[in-house]
């Protein structure tokens, strides 16, 4: 079946168990939020899927192929990664950074073709950063840089996209903008998995949630169900107030020992 499938994986680093018996799927056309407290193993799960760390048990299948059997560039064509707060080390033009998204498709000496150029341009239009084209990334604001790096991810044209806290350190309006872009991607038949801490955004934008705690899977399913009072209390030690407005569900969190 066409999906990203995580089957009973374990991850151990320096004799410490980081992930224990995790199974999950990411289908095309959905956006899945990966939530949990700090140190729950969210980033480690993404890094396992990408093969940046070696899992000690289980399998990761992409469109029924084990990623272990895929060449690096073949895997890169399937899964794109937006790292957390990715720094850019040289004063490259925004356009050059977005063009890096084509790396999986090109051999080391191959120049960008007209098709590549078009894909790059499209990615920049979708993320609203075409006006930043010739600017040095080192001169961009946090929100602009986040959009450029997102355009780079889009330019890979990979069906599965893993984003590690893409809205961390962005102001509220840029947070919404980035979530809208990711949502649009899922509606264009991409599978998007996004690590996030803002449960309110998770509730509103995600089709499903995966809740991790201490390296274990606590729950997965519809956001309203995963974010139930019991999970919030057990995993995060918090409570939530909820309301609906115009068919949209909202949630605001507060400390557990605070009175209602």
């Amino acid at each position: 079946m066409n999906c990203l499938k995580i089957e009973n994986i374990n991850l151990e680093l320096e004799n410490r168990v980081i992930l224990k018996d995790i199974s999950a799927t990411l289908n095309k056309g959905e956006i899945v939020g990966l939530i949990g407290p700090n140190g729950a193993g969210k980033s480690s799960l993404l890094r396992s899927i990408l093969g940046l760390v070696k899992i000690s048990k289980g399998n990761i299948l992409i469109d029924d192929l084990n990623i272990k059997d895929l060449k690096l560039k073949e895997r890169a064509k399937k899964i794109a990664y937006a790292a957390q707060g990715a720094p850019v080390h040289w004063p490259l033009n925004a356009e050059n950074v977005v063009a890096l998204g084509r790396v999986p498709h090109l051999n080391p000496w191959q120049k960008l073709s007209a098709v590549d150029e078009e894909i790059i341009e499209n990615a920049m239009v979708q993320t609203d950063c075409i006006s930043l084209k010739g600017r040095h990334v080192t001169s961009l604001s946090g929100g602009e840089r986040a959009r450029v790096l997102l355009a780079c991810v889009l330019a890979t044209a990979a069906p599965y996209i893993l984003a590690d806290e893409p809205v961390a350190s962005l102001d509220p309006s840029h947070q919404l903008q980035v979530m809208e872009i990711l949502k649009n991607l899922s509606q264009n038949d991409n599978g998007v998995m996004v690590v996030m801490h803002d449960l309110s955004l998770a509730l509103r934008y995600c089709d499903r949630l995966i809740l991790l705690n201490d390296g274990q899977l606590v729950g997965q399913g519809a956001p309203e169900i995963v974010l139930n009072d019991e999970n919030l209390a057990d995993v995060f030690g918090i409570r939530a107030k909820r309301w609906s407005d115009n068919g949209e569900n909202y949630l605001i969190t507060h400390n557990i020992n605070q009175g209602e």
């Binding site: 890094r47 690096l72 560039k73 790292a83 990715a86 850019v88 890096l100 790096l149 890979t156």
Partner: protein, 330 residues
């Protein structure tokens, strides 16, 4: 992309013109027709001997060494993502110097002059082996710099020790002069000794451009784009260590080319870490040939050593570039 090709062509033309000028200038000045005659005339003709046996190896060696320092500097800065990296940071330069100094101190250099480059090469290879051992076991790039600095310090301590123990001031002078770097009296034997190692290094490094570009958005992201980071690191470390080792063995330690050339190319052509590899090689060859030419200009007092000239030009150039590009640095 057009700018890239034009710039490279201009650099090649400048390099050829400088090389021709370098063949012309010397104790016996020659004009272009004499140089042509030197190439086609009888081998035992004095002009042929000057052109083919004395000047050509020196010019070719200068280009090879300058290009090696330039491309290694660019590749190391790219892989370490640090604009201050140069071939010196991985400790190969100092280790090669230690080998050369030992050859001079032990008197082996008097028995057979080629012992100096051979010992220098051995020093560079030992440093390379240590670096290789570290980079295979340790994934962190920071570790690589730290170990390189460690190797470098140890080798410099060794050089000081050998100088300290030297009995005659003459041999200390020989050591210092060797370390200041020179292309004087180099023959085709020196050239042939360095050539295979230098070519091997270039072949290792020539293919890393795409990986270096991808690395500018971080190691994890580069890897997610399908770049094999361990392989990239190995290629740059081995390639620069072997070729710089051979370069230092052939002409002593030449400062600043490896550090400054990538910055010049960034200022003039492109900021892309992969795009500066070939222009850096050309620019390095050009600068070293020019510097070598300057050491041969008539000068009151002692003749200048090559390494002195490159540092004298390189350091102010470096400061100027840093000043010009200060807004791009974070």
């Amino acid at each position: 992309m057009n700018k890239y090709i034009t710039s490279n062509l201009l650099l090649i033309i400048a390099l050829i013109l400088t090389a021709i000028a370098s063949l012309m200038i010397g104790r016996t000045p020659l004009d272009v027709s004499e140089i042509l005659y030197g190439f086609v005339g009888p081998a035992n003709d004095p002009i042929s001997i000057i052109v083919i046996e004395l000047r050509l190896p020196r010019v070719l060696l200068g280009i090879l060494i300058g290009a090696t320092l330039g491309i290694s500097g660019a590749a190391l800065q790219g892989v370490l993502r640090n604009p201050l990296a140069d071939p010196g940071v991985i400790g190969v330069t100092a280790s090669a110097s230690l080998g050369a100094v030992i050859a001079i101190h032990s008197g082996l250099a008097i028995m057979w002059p080629l012992f100096i480059p051979l010992f220098a090469m051995a020093g560079a290879l030992i440093a390379t082996a240590i670096l290789l051992f570290v980079s295979v076991r340790e994934s962190s790039l920071l570790m690589l710099i730290l170990v390189g600095i460690g190797i470098s310090s140890l080798a410099i301590a060794g050089v000081s020790l050998v100088m300290n123990m030297a009995e005659s001031p003459m041999s200390v002078r020989d050591m210092v002069m060797w370390m200041l770097g020179s292309l004087e009296n180099r023959t085709s034997t020196d050239l042939l000794l360095a050539l295979p190692f230098i070519l091997f290094g270039w072949i290792m490094m020539i293919n890393v451009g795409q990986g270096l570009n991808a690395l500018s958005v971080g190691e994890d992201t580069a890897q997610s784009m399908g770049i094999n980071i361990s392989m990239l690191k190995l290629r740059v470390v081995i390639g620069s260590a072997i070729s710089v080792g051979a370069a230092v063995a052939a002409c002593g330690s030449i400062g600043f080319i490896g550090l400054v050339v990538p910055h010049m190319v960034r200022g003039l052509i492109t900021n892309e870490p992969g795009g500066i590899l070939i222009p850096s090689a050309l620019m390095g060859g050009l600068l070293l040939t020019l510097a070598d030419l300057m050491t041969r200009l008539p000068m009151p007092g002692a003749t200048l050593q090559l390494g002195v000239v490159t540092s004298l030009i390189g350091a102010p150039a470096f400061l100027y570039i840093v000043y010009k590009t200060r807004n791009n640095m974070r």
